[in-house]
């Protein structure tokens, strides 16, 4: 019998790690990986709540999150490839033309 809040805290830790990765890392692909980490943390919260409220739709929602994450990963990686082709770099600090 594990208190539900433990699961939620674990999900929170994963989410925080994902955000930290987003902030700290310089490689675009690593930043993308951090986004995936954030999504996983959120998935865990969904499943935990589904378990608490005995509502199966929580797990169904996780299903949809995964589908969308897959689509997003595909498109995002395609963009990274396109950016790499033009800027010849994977360092996010050097892709900064959109500024005032």
């Amino acid at each position: 019998m594990v208190p539900l809040s433990y699961y939620l805290v674990l999900g929170g830790i994963l989410f925080v790690c994902g955000v930290l990765g987003f902030l700290i890392k310089r490689n675009i692909i690593t930043i993308f990986l951090s986004i995936e980490l954030m999504l996983n943390g959120v998935n865990l919260s969904f499943v935990a709540f589904a378990a608490q409220w005995h509502a199966l739709s929580g797990q169904v929602f996780v299903f949809f999150v995964m589908v969308v994450a897959a689509a997003e990963a595909a498109v995002g990686l395609a963009i990274i490839i396109a950016v790499y082709r033009t800027r010849e770099t994977l360092n996010v600090d050097q892709v900064n033309l959109l500024k005032l």
Binding site: V19, F22, L23, I31, V92, D93, V95, N96, L97, L98, K99, L100
Partner: protein, 656 residues
């Protein structure tokens, strides 16, 4: 008068308004003949209508009223567009339309070459409309419309040649000084509304009639009276608000004749006469009127002695004669004041028109020192002007003698000091008027330069090809002759007190209940003849003095001026009154408004607020734009920080 005829009373002011509108809107493209036809036609129609009303006027059924339309209704207070025709307004209406019509005819000749001819005719008609509204009004508010309107027309006409700085400044000065008087008038109107609840003449005077005279201190009626006098002093150029009238000579001469001699400046006298009941119940106010009138008469006359511009002499003469009228009203002789108003319209109008003819004939020169010997070149002008001078000097049997003498007699009845001032003023008047005649028409040779062939506009433009002064055309001489005839015979209506009895229903019915008219004793007649003799001899003395100084011994005036030195300079400079006003009032206002209102508030506060808010918006955005650096991680950092704040807030709300 049948009620049907009365329905056309409102047309008397409106005919000139129609003329003004037509000339004003369509005159620019019209031919000068068409413009003249419209202007003269409508003015003539008004005059004709006035004559019809005069013919059908019967004292038994006077006063007539005609209500045109509703205007203001506010609770119990009501003011309508109503017209009022009693003996007083009949006299004024005839004077205004008659003299006005003659001056319109004269202007056709005088202003023919001017480019803005249609504008002039339109303004003249506009003035007629406002003046007629003033004299025919049934309540003070309509009179005030006319009052303001003639001020407006005066401003437009004085500044007619607005390209000239002096002319436009003179127009402004006239309007502003008038405004000061209007302020007093307005306060008087407010007091009337507050305490009597009406501005309608019959109702207002009915409410005042039963009140007793205020002899102790300054009460309501005295205040109203004094404030009305302030308004009249502004409009009729009395002390201390007369300073605009000499400057108003910048306008064309027909304007000076019509507005500043015959009609507008007499509006103040008319207003005081109309309000005579208020003044009779407030003896203090009446005394104020008399004192102002007497002082102005003498003061202005002394200034007239030393003026060299022909129109300025006539301007100060007007101020002086208006002083006579106010003196008459001030001693209770209202009908005498109105009588003098009428005769003054004749001879002063004639004087101005003749002066205009002189100026026209010598090509724009107005300085009398450069004139002389003109009787050889312009006999008709000289003759008519001489008649007018006899009239103003008060030499029988011309018109001026009858009216001036009536005033002096009634003044003597009231207080001999008034009479003394009046007599001295008559002497000085006669002196400077004959001085004007001798300087302009007398002597052998013409001192001035030959009028040039074609010259630019000075005070009036005229492209003649002559090398010497010439007589004016008949379109200008005709009115001169008619006015001269009126100056000759116009005074006879005063014989046997006919004029006074005609105006009696207006002025006498309001006598305080219980007051008896003092019976005239036998010794009265002798005293009257004695006073008459004194005034005539004084007039003749003035003539003789002028003859000596300017005809037989022309080198004397210069020597006398030298002897008097400082005193002469002060008189010649109009006692420096304009400079005093500039120092006390004009300069502080102008400086204050430049420093405080313009630089301080307009530039410093209003402009600064707008400009600074724009500048600060620019600065803020200039600094904020650095937030958009294009760097993905800084964006993420801001999002994370913002999210943390929101989470913290939610936790705090939940925990509370």
């Amino acid at each position: 008068m049948t009620p049907k005829l009365l329905n056309f009373l409102w047309l008397v002011p409106v005919f000139p308004l129609a003329g003004a509108a037509i000339n004003g809107f369509f005159g620019r493209q019209a031919s000068k003949k068409a413009i003249s036809a419209v202007a003269l036609g409508f003015c003539g129609l008004a005059f004709l209508l006035a004559l019809i009303f005069a013919a059908n006027f019967s004292s038994a059924s006077a006063p007539y009223t005609f209500d045109l339309a509703h205007w203001l209704r506010s609770g119990d207070f009501r003011v309508d567009f109503s017209f009022y025709l009693d003996q007083l307004s009949l006299v004024m209406m005839l004077v205004v339309t008659g003299v006005g019509f003659l001056i319109h005819i004269y202007s056709v000749g005088y202003m023919w070459e001017d480019d803005g001819y249609y504008r002039f005719m339109a303004y003249l008609n506009l003035f007629m409309f406002f003046m007629l509204t003033l004299v025919l009004a049934k309540n003070y508010l309509m009179m005030f419309i006319g009052w303001e309107g003639v001020g407006l027309a005066s401003y437009l006409l004085i500044g007619y040649w607005f390209i000239k700085d002096s002319a436009s400044s003179a127009g402004k000065k006239a309007f502003i000084v008038n405004r000061i008087g209007d302020f007093g008038f307005l306060i008087a109107l407010f007091l009337m509304i507050k305490h009597f609840g009406t501005l309608d003449f019959p109702s207002l005077f009915a409410k005042i009639q039963p009140l007793s005279a205020e002899t102790a201190g300054v009460g309501l009626l005295t205040s109203i009276g004094i404030l009305l006098m302030v308004g009249a002093a502004g409009k009729s150029a009395q002390i201390p608000l007369y300073v605009w009238l000499p400057d108003a000579m910048e306008g064309p001469t027909p304007v000076s004749a019509l507005i500043h001699a015959a009609t507008m400046v007499t509006a103040g006298v008319y207003m005081v006469a109309r309000s005579h009941l208020i003044f009779e119940r407030a003896p203090t106010a009446l005394t104020v009127v008399a004192i102002i009138g007497t002082l102005t008469a003498l003061f202005a006359a002394t200034i007239g002695i030393a003026q060299t511009d022909i129109k300025k002499v006539l301007a100060y003469s007007t101020v002086s004669q208006l002083g006579y009228m106010f003196m008459a009203c001030g001693v209770g002789a209202f009908s005498a004041g109105i009588f003098h108003l009428m005769t003054h319209a004749f001879f002063k109008g004639l004087l101005f028109l003749a002066a205009g003819s002189v100026i026209h004939g010598i090509g724009g020169e107005q300085d009398m020192r450069k004139m002389g010997g003109l009787r050889l070149y312009m006999p008709w002008t000289c003759g008519t002007m001489f008649v007018a001078t006899l009239a103003i000097a008060g030499i029988p049997p011309l018109a001026g003698f009858w009216s001036k003498d009536e005033i002096l007699a009634r003044a003597f009845d009231a207080n001999w000091v008034y009479w003394l001032f009046g007599v001295v003023t008559a002497f000085i008047t006669s002196f400077y008027m004959f001085r004007l005649i001798y300087l302009t028409f007398g002597g052998g040779e013409y001192r001035g330069a030959p009028p040039p062939d074609a010259h630019a506009h000075d005070s009036h433009g005229h492209g003649h090809g002559h090398g010497e002064p010439h007589e004016s055309p008949w379109v200008m001489l005709g009115p001169l002759v008619i006015l001269a005839a009126l100056s000759l015979v116009g005074g006879f209506v005063g014989l046997g007190n006919h004029f006074e009895h005609f105006l009696d229903p207006v002025f006498k019915a309001a006598a305080e209940p219980g007051l008896q008219e003092p019976a005239r004793e036998a010794g009265e007649k002798t005293r009257e003849y004695l006073l008459m003799g004194v005034s005539v001899s004084v007039a003749l003395l003035g003539w003789i003095l002028a003859h000596v100084l300017y005809s037989s011994r022309p080198q004397l005036p210069a020597r006398i001026a030298e002897r008097l030195g400082r005193l002469y300079k002060a008189v010649a400079n109009k006692y420096y009154v304009d400079e005093l006003y500039a120092l006390l009032f004009v300069n502080p206002v102008v400086d204050g408004s430049t420093t405080i209102l313009w630089k301080g508030i307009d530039q410093g506060v209003i402009d600064a607020t707008v400009n600074n808010s724009a500048d600060s918006a620019r600065h803020v955005s200039d600094n904020l734009r650095h937030m958009q650096s294009g760097n993905l991680r800084s964006y993420a950092g801001w999002v994370a920080a913002g999210g943390a704040v929101v989470i913290a807030y939610m936790v705090w709300m939940g925990v509370r």
